[in-house]
Symmetry: C2
Subunit: 266 residues, 2 copies
């Protein structure tokens, strides 16, 4: 699919971005790569993450994509500048769109950020938020149990609510007005989060904000397709298993079609 | 360390086996490899797991080890026959020792098995148990949230107890007399499990049973060293991060010394 959008993630979480892009830009073809053989990236070293991200982007480039979306917070945090300098197509991450959306409401002053340990430790969100607006109070919390709970489909279990309360209590006590969901898995948690957080806390997620940012960028560069043109989706995973295919269906809320096995050049 | 024991796992869980071996065989040198760049194996396909396990074993063989312990249930389930036919040293997995220990008590009749999804789906424990004793009732339950909870050090949190009760209730209702902890992470859960399970349920874990089996095998083959000889430990990880080093310390209950970065041949 030459001229498609290339979207990659360490696993299947980035499919929430695919879903948001499909809804907002129905004319675009999408080539998705999930590096399921090496998922997760969040706990790995910056050097290793950069190597993996470069191999992922190389695969998408070899499929002739017109732009690359890094639908993985960890890879965005560590590899975005490298990818931008190496490849001759626009490369869009998930951090800048999320940060812009969090600050779009001028009353946002106390921002909570939840993400994997790797993303929090990179300080990428904290840094980007602080750069955009002075005087912000930023409360970042690593919440590494949320991805396994989401992948287990334990969204309606009491244990999940207990884990969320445990993680979010310190942020609520700080009086956050905005909670930035800085992991592409987390949009699936929104209904549970609504029940745990005070009503007036705004939720901002990586997936929809990234799709909106992408639309603006492609428009600016004259790279948008009309809705009548395409809408195809190719899903490539570096490891195939029944589990990943089940997850892929849950994340996309529709069948992904045939899932192919990708072999990366290292 | 020529003549050392080689022990590998997908990550740091296998260090519980290292600890058990150090206690039981203090004279042995140990070379440990954790494939932290590609952890976890449990959710990946059998084909990918066999490829990874072969690369792990190849690394240990290149260090001159006299025997290989596959301290990973998923790799044991899928790769043990391949490794045994390929390498000219004894290769010991974690499944057979656990199964033998579970059945060592002749009154064992109703056996619960908990493990990652990959191990349960392989049916390796169910098959090995059924082969050794006829008429057994075997209740296998995938418990994929336990590894993240252990790695998060949430052992004393209410959420962990709730997750355990959720997972174990069906097994307790079936009246199990033995619970086989078929994941090398799980020995760290023993104190919490004791509070959740009825008192008369026997707990059998992968790590200590594997060390006991190894001692018998090395003795049989004349490969045991005397306690005065060695006791060195080399830890190699395919990806280094602060997180892995912290985990390694918790799993070993003592400092692992300098942790080295391993590069595998693929």
């Amino acid at each position: 699919m030459t001229g498609a959008l290339g979207i990659f993630d360490s696993g299947v979480g980035g499919l929430t971005v695919v879903r948001a892009v499909q809804e907002l830009l129905p004319g675009e073809d999408i080539v998705y790569l999930g590096d399921t053989a090496r998922v997760p990236y969040g706990s790995k070293s910056p050097e290793t993450i950069r190597k993996f991200a470069d191999e992922d982007a190389g695969f998408l480039i070899s499929r002739g994509v017109k732009a690359i979306v890094v639908a993985c917070n960890t890879a965005t945090a560590h590899a975005l500048p490298d990818l931008r300098s190496r490849y001759g197509v626009p490369v869009i991450g998930v951090i800048e769109p999320g940060v812009e959306a969090a600050l779009a409401d001028p009353s946002a002053e106390r921002i909570g950020v939840i993400a994997t340990r790797g993303t929090i430790r990179s300080h990428a969100y904290q840094h980007a938020l602080a750069q955009k607006k002075t005087g912000l109070m930023i409360y970042a919390e690593a919440t590494p149990l949320l991805v396994p709970l989401i992948e287990e489909d334990w969204l309606d279990k009491a244990a999940t609510e207990l884990v969320l309360r445990d993680y979010l209590e310190p942020l609520v006590e700080k009086g956050i007005d905005t909670l930035l969901l800085a992991c592409t898995h987390y949009p699936l948690l929104v209904p549970v989060l609504r029940g745990v957080l005070p009503e007036d806390v705004r939720l901002v997620d990586s997936a929809t904000t990234c799709a909106e940012h992408l639309k603006r960028e492609l428009g600016r560069l004259g790279l948008l397709r009309s809705a009548a043109d395409g809408g195809g989706l190719e899903v490539h995973l570096t490891d195939l298993s029944e589990e990943f295919e089940t997850l892929a269906r849950r994340f996309l809320t529709k069948a992904p079609g045939r899932v192919r096995r990708a072999v990366l050049e290292s």
